[in-house]
Symmetry: C2
Subunit: 333 residues, 2 copies
């Protein structure tokens, strides 16, 4: 198996990406194809003692500009490390693609260069978010600010396929993020999506309120990309703010620092449990080949986890499972 990795995506590229890829090649025993400026890759690797063994480099002369419009990947940035990686994937040179680069360009590039699964209306970004009792997949977390009800149903199917194949969840519980539990709640988008989800072959467990999300209660939480962006960003921002406050309390003086030592084990466990990086990046679901968007701030370990996720994504045939749901839904129409 070969994973294609964008060596120039994200805040810590290329060094952390190279380190992460070296760790992944070792840990998962897979080949890696790096895309990006070959000379820089070789120089940075040499300067930092990162072995490029088991890795190929495919040269790309450009880096996608984070401030360029996403569609620029199809025009002025056709030779960016992101575009070249996606092209290699579409040509079958590797089994999956990972990038920590621009989210918008990633979605546009994957949809147009690699193409969507036949019948899928929109690709959706889907991170796995830790909860008190486990984790849930949030889909869509931001690829599509505006959605139609039938897209939300497809998001549910894609999320269920992923959670079943990658995280071994039997019969994943799919819920609709809404402003109340009753079926008439929400805007016409949620009301119609509720109806369609009820009629679908998915294991639909009804609406879920945002209050319930951090406790658990579903395996796949479906929403439009605007709402998903709010949920993801607020989860990240509030966790960070609250943990920062707790740290302040622990570091206040000598006595509290001593107390903190006693709590060290418990706090470390808690931190690990709540660390979304443990689940790798966000899968871009709906594309005809496995694509993973790593967090823009990925360090080596986070990128390594994202490569590991790409390996499982390719091995477990998630895409075949999504196609199965699509066929089932079509048959019901």
């Amino acid at each position: 198996m070969k994973i294609i990795a964008d060596a120039f995506g994200g805040d810590n590229a290329p060094l952390e990406i190279l380190k992460g890829c070296a760790m992944a090649a070792e840990e998962y025993g897979v080949g890696i194809i790096l895309t990006g400026d070959e000379e820089t890759i070789r120089r940075v690797a040499a300067e930092n003692g990162v072995s490029l063994e088991k890795m190929e480099i495919v040269h790309a002369s450009q880096v996608m500009d984070m401030n360029a419009p996403p569609t620029a990947i199809l025009k002025g940035y056709r030779d960016s490390s992101l575009a070249v990686g996606l092209r290699l994937l579409s040509e079958g040179r590797g089994d999956a693609f990972v990038s920590a680069g621009s989210t918008g360009a990633f979605v546009v590039g994957a949809s147009h260069i690699v193409k969507r699964i036949k019948g899928i209306k929109r690709a959706a970004l889907a991170p796995v978010i830790p909860t008190v009792e486990g984790r849930y997949m949030l889909i869509d977390c931001g690829a599509n600010a505006e959605c139609r009800p039938e897209m939300l149903v497809q998001f549910g199917a894609m999320g269920a396929a992923y959670m079943n194949k990658i995280l071994d969840v039997e019969n994943p519980r799919v819920a609709l993020i809404n402003n109340g539990a009753e079926e008439h709640k929400g805007t016409p988008l949620q009301q119609e999506a509720y109806r369609l989800l009820t009629e679908s072959p998915l294991h639909f467990v009804g609406n879920i309120e945002a209050r319930q999300l951090p406790q658990g209660g579903c395996d796949v939480a479906v929403c439009d990309g605007f709402t998903g962006n709010i949920v993801l960003k607020l989860t990240e921002g509030l966790s960070k703010a609250l943990i920062g406050q707790i740290k302040g309390i622990l570091m206040k003086n000598t006595a509290t620092k001593l107390a903190a030592l006693t709590l060290k084990g418990g706090l470390a466990e808690f931190k690990k449990k709540m660390d979304y990086k443990e689940y790798g990046g966000a899968a871009l679901l709906g594309i005809s080949k496995p694509t993973i968007k790593a967090h823009g701030s990925s360090d080596a370990k986070a990128f390594k986890n994202a490569v590991g996720q790409a390996v499982r994504f390719a091995r477990q045939n998630v895409i075949g499972s999504i196609e199965g749901y699509l066929a089932e839904m079509k048959a019901k129409e």
Copy 2:
């Protein structure tokens, strides 16, 4: 000054409401008009040693059913403690109204019985939410799932008036909750609201991402009621989940319990800082007289704070300030 209080709204009515009103009468030196079943109020007060001095009771034979549609307040529940309280307010029998009852019925009842401020398209629910560096008003947090861009601008004006008059914020910073910082971000609703806010007399500071909200950065965060519901409920749910996890770490064994003792002061301070109950209830802004929606789970102290908020709301002439903004915006058209 007289505050009208719905004695039968919320999970802990009537006892906690009566206690809260007694505390408020004492602390703020105001008169209270209680609405609800007179016999029950007198009996519960007597049984629990709550003094009804300085309080009047206006009998109401019904309690608004939480499961009834909100519009039922105008039909089958016209003699509910909620409807009667709103009618007393519209007749000028008191200066402000507080209820911990059904949110939907409260919004519908206030809009139709007390009426909106002339020119205001929709009333909005607006709680004040604590942040690391202070607090912000979230408007609308759920009264209107669907909004038009001009409504969001009015929400900004109402929030600015409140923050200025009640929390003494000079020139409140108004921000638009969006999925990115750039002005073209969001759906057409946010894009057009951004344009209108830029042209308005408000101190508009641009888009705010959900990630930033818990840190601070604005005094008024404007959004449609669906998004606001997600922000409010996720903030409550995630705070609760994380604090629960921290408690678990502290209570794990004898050593951690001892450590917890050392941290007691810091944790109590943190809890107080993050407690939204400190700010009272959610103001229902846009109604022609002061109306406060207390949290459904209000205990005596939370309800007392909500009454205190109603007192300030009436004293500070927030409504006059909202009318001033409306006139300024009309002049600019």
